[in-house]
Symmetry: C2
Subunit: 208 residues, 2 copies
DNA sequence: GATATGTCCAGACAGTGTGTATGGTCCTTG
DNA sequence: CAAGGACCATACACACTGTCTGGACATATC
């Protein structure tokens, strides 16, 4: 908890990989989350899947929540640079919006297990909560910047609270992507998902 | 599990209450959920709070999830009859929308603990999942009926998927009410919450 | 009033999970 | 060869769940 632990450097089989076990734990968990939900996943399950001892696990991570946090950070940073062109946004607004929504769907499809896990768990773990709220805040902030640089959207929004509108669109996305990943109709149909989310953005920002 | 148990009828202290213990369990849990979150709540906590033995608890409920399910049913049916005038909707559409959103906020304020609990838990329990999806479906269906009987909304929606739009508004509400109850800004400010939700409904249905 | 019936409690139990601690093995480096 | 770091197997204390005893006590029946 309080003492910073050193990352192991010298590995058994030569100079190959430092912290290889750590990596094994991460990818085993990522893999397990493809099929099982996070809270029915025990540390023992991860241990056997990653072929790692209990002691080693708790050397690298303080809990399984910390593993999830790391996986989420990976997935989200990977997604942020994917959504970067969206933030710049020089093209046609509506097309850019749809492209951004589609990117989000791709990100969620690629990391469904991890992202479903945190959406289901951030309510009951302080670290995960802080992490997820921060991510949603980053997305919201990006949306705010985008709106502020868009005269037409600004005009349509009038004196409405820009950040609140941006936040609600962010959270609408969070919920709808989750439902899609969970197979809840009608959002399990990716075309419906993208259409309805794009429609929400354009309706709220431009009145269609 | 499979055998249906009979509800106890003859009580110790006269003809007072049948299934009094059951009631005690329900209200103790409801009370505990006001301060603690559902998954850190153990059955033992409920036992001591309700002054009920472990055996009695498992006589009336198969699990603590079942207790939550019952509490949710209570809260939601109570909320459905509150939202009934909204479904009828003869008044000015925008005002009716705002009134409905405000009713939702009131319902969530009155039952924050229980509703937060199920929102956090329906992902990890089959019964709770079925219950919550059914409730969201009921709300969605009511919204669909309301939209179908509103020529202006129908005209504005064009060939969009009415049920998908209604569902996304329902789920947006679910998420935003939850965030408000969880104290996440900017939705912790009830005025912001109501404004942004009302705005979403009117924007999506009428283009403002 | 004796006997059953049903409600309830106290407590023990096995099973499973978490996080920590102990001791030992194997490899690398000085 | 000796020292130390990386790792493993194992066992532990603790908490929680759901089941199962035995017994206390009130009511109903004879």
């Amino acid at each position: 908890m309080s003492s910073k632990r050193t990352v192991p450097s010298a590995r058994r089989s030569g100079a190959a990989a430092s912290a290889e076990l750590r990596e094994r734990i991460l990818s085993a968990t990522r893999e397990l989350l493809r099929e099982r939900c996070f809270d029915t996943l025990s540390v023992s399950d991860i241990l056997t899947a990653a072929k790692v001892s209990r002691a080693s696990f708790y050397f690298y991570f303080p809990s399984k929540q910390a593993v999830l946090a790391e996986l989420v950070r990976e997935a989200v940073t990977q997604g942020q640079q994917a959504a970067e062109p969206w933030t710049g946004g020089r093209q046609d607004p509506a097309a850019a919006l749809r492209a951004g929504v589609t990117d989000g769907a791709r990100l969620w499809r690629a990391n469904a297990g991890v992202l479903m896990a945190i959406v289901e768990s951030w309510g009951s773990d302080d670290d995960l909560r802080a992490l997820w709220l921060e991510q949603m805040d980053l997305f919201t902030e990006a949306a705010v910047a985008r709106i502020r640089s868009d005269p037409e959207a600004l005009r349509h929004l009038g004196d409405a609270d820009v950040r609140a509108v941006a936040a609600s669109l962010t959270w609408l996305g969070e919920r709808l992507y989750y439902l899609a990943a969970a197979g809840v109709p009608p959002f399990d149909d990716e075309q419906v998902l993208i259409d309805v989310l794009t429609n929400a953005w354009t309706s709220l920002l431009y009145g269609r």
